[in-house]
Chain length 191, copies 2
């Protein structure tokens, strides 16, 4: 049995997304993912409960980072300023590997209702984490919920632009913050 | 074999939600749902591809009604006025049976990750239908997406309040429109 080594999570995610893209989600087994990543099945199961959970490898970390950034924003920050701080904090942890995965993840999700469902629930989880962090700052409902939803939309839109641009050498943060600013500006045209 | 009769869909949904609440989602079979509803399994499969699809019995209809209401709003309507027209149109089709199902559906969803995922994807589908209807009116992105997300939030918040109040004899529409107005007001405090 191979010894556990740092980076197994990342290798498993890359292997899985490659296989989902090559042969489809349904046809891909845990054994194939483990083999491609160069680890045993038992190593796979130390990292993920099943292949679907690969989609949300970073969800818990992402929720924590968004919430920490919101919690640590200055006391006088507006709800959207706090959300922006959360986006900056989370974006800082997203590197080239995250960017390169984007288009392949998108293709895998587009081809599978099961992955679409898991992906949708991931967004709900991120919004809940951000709402909770805003409420902890004293932001009332439904303002906290609304600001959190804008944060999730901005993160997804910013990530899509960043990951779809292979020559982009900036980080995720400028894209996420630009998307948040666009959404804020759009609120003035709702009527 | 029982003859097909109008209302089988509604009876199957009620039977399923009762069983999910009594014994859990995982333990409930299609055969049990069909028996409780007084129909055969083949009748079940004429209405739903599997038990999970019961959760979204009305999703396609709801998407269509929301989009129709948006499309038929007056030419000068603002994005949120068009969304309000969509909410009114869809709310008009929701009767006492929909209201009474609410709390039981909520309990069933809360107890099942699988149902939470399907429920999350339902919201994504409703937002996509509303976004498309707004874009068809000439509303630009990201304003269309933002207005649609507010519409989904308003529908869910309004439905929760309506269905959790057993003595409420108004329809869903006033609750959904009040929730939309609250969200619109909250946009001015985002900062």
């Amino acid at each position: 049995m191979a010894r556990w080594q740092p980076g197994a999570t990342q290798r498993l995610v890359v292997a899985a997304v490659d296989l989902f893209t090559e042969q489809g989600y349904d046809a891909t087994t845990v054994a194939q993912i483990a083999e491609r990543a160069g680890v045993t099945k038992s190593t796979f199961f130390r990292h993920f409960s099943d292949k679907r959970e690969l989609l949300v490898a970073g969800q818990e970390t992402l929720s924590r980072l968004l919430a920490e950034g919101i919690g640590e924003a200055p006391a006088g920050a507006s709800p959207l300023e706090a959300v922006a701080a959360g986006l900056e904090r989370a974006s800082g942890e997203m590197g080239p590997a995250n960017r390169e995965l984007g288009p392949r993840l998108k293709a895998a999700v587009a081809a599978s209702t099961e992955l679409q469902e898991r992906d949708a629930l991931k967004s709900v989880g991120l919004a809940a984490a951000m709402t909770e962090a805003l409420v902890a700052r004293g932001v009332a409902d439904p303002l906290a919920h609304l600001a959190a939803e804008l944060g999730v939309l901005a993160f997804k839109r910013g990530y899509a632009r960043w990951s779809e641009n292979p020559v982009d050498d900036t980080g995720l943060a400028p894209h996420a913050l630009a998307a948040l600013a666009e959404l804020r500006d759009a609120t003035t045209s709702l009527g």
